[in-house]
Symmetry: C2
Subunit: 125 residues, 2 copies
Amino acid sequence: MLKRFKKKKSAGTAKSFIEKDKVKAVKKKMKSETFFHNLAETFKAMSDPTRTKIIYALCLEKELCVHDITAIVGTTNSAISHQLRTLRNMKLVKYNKVGKIAYYSLDDIHINNLFAEGLRHVEEK
Amino acid sequence: MLKRFKKKKSAGTAKSFIEKDKVKAVKKKMKSETFFHNLAETFKAMSDPTRTKIIYALCLEKELCVHDITAIVGTTNSAISHQLRTLRNMKLVKYNKVGKIAYYSLDDIHINNLFAEGLRHVEEK
DNA sequence: ACAATATCTGAACAATTGTTCATATGTTAA
DNA sequence: TTAACATATGAACAATTGTTCAGATATTGT
């Protein structure tokens, strides 16, 4: 009880010490839950070695079919196909099908920039 | 048995049709396994909503203590501390401890750029 | 020395992920 | 139609992940 009283006495000041202007300022500029979810999803799309290989390949050659990508990455067709679907769902790659062949390419220039920036970070560490 | 024989006959030509110049060119420029691993790890560090919130907060205010980050993100101290360790291990954030308070900040400008580029991608979709 | 504060940590758990396997779909050539 | 080819897919599996819980450190003020 005594403790509780003591806590009450200092709680206000303690909290106002912690929740200072910095925190309030950032909180005001905070984006929605959905925003951070989508942002995380975008990065997650690039967070697997198989997928970074695919993206890297598509940075060098802007159009590649599944068979080519499989040959370059060196896995099974199934694994590549599954990963391409992930990248498609995340809007990182697009494809157009001509006959039985599906030609994949990066969805837009942002992907190139994003990838290049990550590449720079890794190479300078 | 017959099938097997037939397959053998066409396997060679089929492969040479697929492994065309494009594939060879990309294969020549392929980076090491470690490189793609590290690159994926960097993106993975940003692939969780809690961590994107932390990084976003540190983009707005370049120095924040754990308590502040906890208040901003709105989780438990433990969860934040664990995520900060992850970010530290990935060299995305650094910290300097003054007394009992640990002040966290983004490790270098590449992180700002990388994050900003991801942000742009999400906002334009 | 003690209580309060700020941060960190290990274990345990459910949830998610990437690959493999077997098979399905759709297209082309014979 | 049938065989060969290019790609996609569902189920199942081990491996990884993020959070919570309980408690450990370490620093400061009294």
